[in-house]
Amino acid sequence: MRPILLHGHQRSLTRIRYNTAGDLLFSASKDNKPCVWFSANGERLGTFNGHNGTVWDLDVTANSRYLLTGSADNTCKLWEVETGKCVYTWETKTAVRAVSFALGDEKALFITDATMGHQSTIHIVPIEADPEDQTSDILKSIIITGAKATVAVWGNLNRTIITGHEDGTVTEWNPDTGAKIKSAKNHEKAITDIQLSADKSYFMSSSKDQSAFLTDTKTLKVLKKFVTERPVNSAILSPIRPHVILGGGQDAMDVTTTSLRGNKFESRFYHAVFEDEIGRIKGHFGPINTLAFHPNGRSFSSGGEDGFIRVHHLDDDYFDFKYDEENFDDLPQF
C-alpha cells in the first residue's frame, strides 16, 4: 500500500512513538513542536507548544493521558495529551537526551547530557496521579561515569534501567541504588536506539557502527546480528512476526548530492532468527532517524532527516511470507 506521508515538521525527525492502543502516533523533531497524529489516516490531532529547542525524545503513558518530552532547551515537560497543555516542567542543567515512563507510569526517567562541565545523569522522578501534586522531587540521580548515554529505557519490571552509550556500550543500572549492574561493549560506535520486546526479555540496539544487535536483557548477550553498510539509526521488532526493521543511511553531512542510489535511505527488513535480509522499503530522501512499529504489527512508521514521517501499512503478501523452516505453533503466546 502507498505510505501516508506526514509533513508536519519543519526539521528532521528525532523520535516517533505509538501509544499502547496504536491509534495515536507521537513525533518529535528538531523543530520545537512535538506532534500527535491519528495513525490510521495521518490526520494531525495537534501540537505541543512550549519547547524552545530540539526535542530529542518523547514517551507516552500506557493510558495515553500524559506525554513526556525531553528537549535541548534544558527542560523536560509533561503534557496532557487531550488538551495539549503543559502540566509540569522540570528544569535541567543541560539538554535532555532521553525520556521513558516506567511500567505502571508511576515514575519516569530522563537523561541529561554531559556538557558545560556537567556529567551525563539519569534522573528518576515520581509521576503523580494528579499533575497538580507534581513537584520537582527527584527519587534518584545516577551520575554516569565514562561515555555519555544516548538512549535509555526501563528494563523488566522496573528492576533495571538500560542505557546505550556513545562508545557503543550497553549498561544496566539499579534504579533504587544507582549501582551499575552490568555493562557490555557489543557495539563499536555510538548506540542510536534501544527498543525492548513486548515481554522485555530481549531488545534491539542499533548503532553508528552500521549494525543492529538483538540482545538478551538478562545477560546482555548478543543473540542475533544484523550488519549493513550504513550507520543504523533505529531498529525495531515486529510485535507479531519474527522480523526486525533497520533504518538509517549515510550521515547527512556525508551525503552526496548527485545521486540517491548510493545512500541507501531504506527501511530494511531482516528475519530475526535467520538474520537474512528479506526486504526493503525505500522512499526517504535523507537518512531514517527513527522507526516505530504499530502495536498490532500491521503497520510501521519511519521518520527521516528529510522531515517526513512515512506511515506504511504492510500489504497482505508480507504476512503471507513465511520460511518453510518456521513453525509458529511452537512459539509460546504471551
Binding site: N156, D199, E229, E325, P332, F334
Partner: protein, 713 residues
C-alpha cells in the same frame, strides 16, 4: 670511604683486541682510485714523449681534472713502455675517463685500453691456487602451476582489503575458499604474471614474486620505490620502473630495469627521457595499474614486448624519432641500431607475429602524407604502408589473434570539424588489403574493443556531449573476387572485399566500456569510474540482451580467464563508499555480492593457454552435451547438499529460538504477579483484556413534521 670494588690490575697489552679491531675495522681507502692506466699507447722515444702525453691528455679534456700524467720510459731501449698513468682529482672523473676512452682507437694500429689502477692491482694479486666455485645445493622449486590441477577446474583470485592480501578459490555463489593469506603482503598493489605463475608484490625495496601451492617467495628484484612492472608474455623477463633514479657510473639516471626472472639478474637498465616521464597516462594501461600506481603519469608499458618475448621495443618520438628494438636475453640493440622513423607517433606489436605497426603524422611543411606502416622484424622488411591525409590523430588496435589491425583515424575536415573513420588491415590476406569504414561525421569515437580471437568489434561513439552510441561491427569474409581486370597485382581495394558490416547500434546513456568475454560472443557494456555503474550483458551471436544490472560506482570489471564469470568491483582507492565486489555469471545473473571495508583490489589469476590441440578442442565442442552431463550431475549434487545444509541450519536456529522464547515465557509467567502489582491490576481476572461495552447511537436524520389535526378525524 671503603670501595666495595676490588682494584684489578690490567695489563692492556695482554688483552686480545683483535676481534674488536676486526669488527670496527675501516677499509683503508685506496689511494689510487683516482689513477687510471692507459695501455696500448705507441712506443715512442724521448723526442716524442711530451707530444704523446699531451695527445693522450687531450682525450680526457672533456672530463677535466687531470692532476698528473706519467709515462714510464724504458731506460734500456730509450723508448716508452707503451702505458701511461693519469691521475685525476676525483674518483668519479677517473671512472668517467675509463668509460669514455676504453677501447679508443688512437690510430689504425693502436687501440687504447683504459683501466683503473686498482683493478690492475687486484688482477695482479690473483691467488695462485685454483679454488673451485661453490656449487649451490639444488633446491626444488615449488610447482608453479599446481592450481590448474583443481578437480573442479575452479579459478583463483587475489583480493586485497585493508592490510590483508589473500588468494581464494572462486566458488560461484558460495563463500570463496581461502588458499593463502598474509598481512602486509604488498606495500602497494599486486599483479599476476601473464600466465598466472607468479604473483608480484610491491615493496619499498623492490618487487617480490611468489608462486607454488603455498605461495613461497620465488624471486626478489631490488629496485627502490618501484611503481610499475611489466612481464614479458612468456614470464621470463620483467621490466620495472621507479620514479627514483638509479645513478649509473656514467652519471646517467636510469629509471627502468629489465630483469631475468629465473636467475634474478639485471639484464640492462635504461634512462627515461624527462618528456616521457611527464607524459600523461592515456588510460591505456589503466586497468593494470590500479591503486597507487595510477597516480603515476607515465605512458606504461614504456617498453613493449613482442608476442614471443624475443624482442622488446621502445619509441623515441619527435623529429629524431626512432623505434629501438632490443633482443633478449642479451638486451643488445637489434642490428646495433635503432629504426629511424622521423616523427613516429606510436607503435604496437602484432600479438601473434613479429610485425610492428606504427604511424607517422603529416609534417607541417612538405607535401608528405601521414602514413601507417607495418614492418616485419628482424628483417626490417616493410610489409604494407597506407597513406592518409588530414590526419589529426590515429590509434592502433590489434585483434588478439593478429588477424586484423584496426586504425582509428581522426581527420580534420575543416578548422573546427573532425571526422572519424576506421582503416582495417587484413593481416592474413595476400598483400594485406585495407577495408575502410566511414563513420558519421558528427560522431567522436571514444573506444574500440575487438572480440578476442573473433571477427567482431564494438565501437563507442559520442555524438555531441551526451549521446552515446555503441556499434557492433563484423568483418565480412573476403569475397573471392578476382582483381579488377587491367591491374595485375592490383593492391586490394576495399570495394572488392567484404568490408565490415554494422550489426547493431545501441543508444545508451552511461556506458563507457565494452568488455568482451575472453571466449568471445558475450560482450558486457558498462559505465565505470566516472559513470554510475550500469552493466549490460549482450549475446552478440543473437544480438540480444541477456541481462541488465548495476553495481553502483563500479570502478573495475574483469572476466575470469575461462569466460565463465565476470567480477565487478568498487575499489577503495578510487571510491571510499561501499567498496566491494559482485560476481556475475556469464549471462548476467548476480551470483554473489560482498561489501568489504577497505577493499582495494581483486584480480583473477590468469591461465596459460590450453595444452589441448585444436583437434581435441574440436572434439570437446562436438561432444559438449555428453561432457557437460557429468558436470551437471556434480553441480546438482552440490546444490542439493547446499540446500540441505541451509535447511538444517535454519531448523537448528529456529528450534534454538523456540527454546529461548519458552524460557522467556516461563520467566514471564513467574513474574506475572509482580507485574500485575506494578500495573495495579487484579491478577485473578484476565488482566490483559478489558471489555468495554460501548453503544453508539447514530442519528441519521431528524425530520420535524407537523401532523395535521384533522387527519384522524
Amino acid at each position: 670511604m671503603p670501595s666495595s670494588k676490588k682494584e684489578v690490575e690490567i695489563d692492556e697489552s695482554q688483552i686480545d683486541f683483535s676481534d674488536i679491531y676486526a669488527h670496527f675495522s675501516v677499509p683503508a681507502p685506496s689511494k689510487f682510485d683516482t689513477v687510471i692506466v692507459v695501455d696500448g699507447a705507441p712506443l715512442v722515444g724521448v723526442d716524442k714523449e711530451v707530444k704523446l702525453i699531451n695527445k693522450i691528455k687531450s682525450l680526457f679534456k672533456n672530463i677535466g681534472g687531470i692532476k698528473n700524467a706519467e709515462m714510464p720510459m724504458d731506460p734500456e731501449t730509450g723508448k716508452s713502455k707503451g702505458y701511461l698513468f693519469i691521475e685525476f682529482e676525483t674518483p668519479a672523473q677517473a671512472s668517467a675517463a675509463i668509460l669514455a676512452c676504453n677501447n679508443f682507437k688512437l690510430d689504425i694500429t693502436h687501440t687504447l685500453s683504459v683501466n683503473a689502477f686498482d683493478d690492475i692491482e687486484s688482477f695482479a694479486n690473483v691467488p695462485e691456487t685454483y679454488a673451485p666455485p661453490v656449487i649451490e645445493p639444488f633446491t626444488e622449486k615449488p610447482h608453479l602451476r599446481s592450481w590448474l590441477k583443481d578437480e573442479q577446474a575452479r579459478d583463483q583470485f587475489v583480493l586485497m582489503k585493508g592490510e590483508d592480501t589473500a588468494i581464494h578459490w572462486n566458488n560461484k555463489s558460495e563463500a570463496p575458499d581461502l588458499v593463502h593469506s598474509r598481512k602486509h603482503w604488498s606495500d602497494m598493489y599486486v599483479a599476476w604474471s601473464p600466465k598466472g605463475s607468479y604473483l608480484a608484490t610491491f615493496h619499498k625495496q623492490g618487487i617480490a614474486l611468489w608462486g607454488g601451492p603455498e605461495f613461497e617467495k620465488i624471486a626478489r628484484f631490488a629496485h627502490a620505490n618501484v611503481k610499475l612492472i611489466d612481464f614479458s608474455p612468456d614470464e621470463k623477463y620483467l621490466v620495472t620502473w621507479s620514479h627514483d633514479p638509479l645513478l649509473m657510473p656514467t652519471g646517467e639516471h636510469h629509471h627502468i630495469i629489465v630483469w631475468d626472472i629465473l636467475s634474478g639478474r639485471q639484464l640492462r637498465s635504461f634512462p627515461v627521457s624527462a618528456s616521457a616521464m611527464e607524459k600523461q597516462d592515456l588510460g591505456k594501461a589503466a586497468p593494470t595499474i590500479a591503486g597507487p600506481g595510477a597516480t603515476v603519469k607515465i605512458d606504461w608499458p614504456f617498453f613493449k614486448w613482442s608476442y614471443d618475448s624475443k624482442y622488446i621495443a621502445r619509441i623515441t618520438p619527435g623529429p629524431d624519432g626512432a623505434i629501438s628494438v632490443y633482443e633478449t636475453p642479451g638486451m643488445g640493440l637489434l642490428d646495433k641500431k635503432s629504426i629511424k622513423i622521423e616523427n613516429v607517433k606510436a607503435f604496437e606489436w602484432s600479438p601473434t607475429e613479429n610485425v610492428i605497426s606504427y604511424w607517422t603524422p603529416e609534417p607541417e611543411v612538405g607535401n608528405i602524407p601521414a602514413r601507417v606502416t607495418l614492418m616485419k622484424l628482424p628483417q626490417r622488411e616493410i610489409v604494407r604502408t597506407k597513406n592518409l591525409f588530414n590526419v589529426v590523430n590515429a590509434q592502433l588496435a590489434w585483434q588478439s589473434a593478429g588477424k586484423y589491425l584496426l586504425v582509428r583515424v581522426e581527420r580534420s575536415t575543416s578548422k573546427t570539424q573532425r571526422s572519424h573513420n576506421l582503416e582495417i588491415f587484413r593481416m592474413k590476406e595476400k598483400d594485406v588489403p585495407v577495408d575502410v569504414v566511414e563513420l558519421k561525421p558528427t560522431e567522436n569515437v571514444t573506444g574500440v574493443f575487438w572480440e578476442p580471437n573473433g571477427d567482431r568489434f564494438a565501437l563507442i561513439g559520442l555524438e555531441g556531449t551526451a549521446k552515446i552510441n555503441i556499434h557492433f561491427y563484423e568483418m565480412n569474409a573476403v569475397a573471392a573476387a578476382a582483381p579488377p581486370a587491367g591491374k595485375k597485382n592490383g593492391p586490394a581495394v576495399s570495394a572488392i572485399l567484404g568490408g565490415a558490416k554494422l550489426l547493431k547500434t545501441l543508444d545508451r546513456k552511461g556506458i563507457n566500456q565494452v568488455v568482451w568475454s575472453p571466449k568471445g560472443r558475450i560482450a558486457v557494456l558498462a559505465g565505470v569510474r566516472a559513470f554510475q555503474g550500469d552493466i549490460e550483458f549482450w549475446d552478440i551471436d543473437d544480438l540480444t540482451m541477456l541481462a541488465a544490472g548495476d553495481h553502483y560506482t563500479c570502478t573495475d570489471l574483469e572476466w575470469d580467464p575461462t569466460g565463465r564469470y565476470l567480477m565487478s568491483s568498487v575499489s577503495w582507492w578510487r571510491v571510499q563508499q561501499d567498496p566491494g565486489f559482485t560476481l556475475w555469471s556469464c549471462v548476467g545473473t548476480e551470483l554473489a555480492k560482498q561489501s568489504i571495508p577497505m577493499f582495494k583490489q581483486i584480480l583473477w589469476r590468469p591461465r596459460p593457454p590450453t595444452p589441448l590441440t585444436i583437434e581435441e578442442q574440436k572434439s570437446v565442442k562436438k561432444n559438449f552435451k555428453e561432457i557437460s552431463k557429468q558436470f551437471d550431475i556434480v553441480d546438482a549434487k552440490e546444490n542439493t547438499k547446499l540446500d540441505k545444509a541451509v535447511v538444517e541450519k535454519r531448523r537448528g536456529l529456529w528450534s534454538e529460538w523456540v527454546s529461548y522464547r519458552r524460557r522467556c515465557y516461563e520467566d514471564w509467567l513467574k513474574e506475572s504477579d509482580l507485574r500485575n502489582e506494578i500495573l495495579g491490576i487484579d491478577g485473578t481476572s484476565d488482566s490483559r483484556t478489558q471489555e468495554i461495552e460501548e453503544y453508539v447511537d447514530e442519528v441519521i436524520e431528524e425530520i420535524e413534521e407537523v401532523v395535521p389535526d384533522n387527519e384522524y378525524d
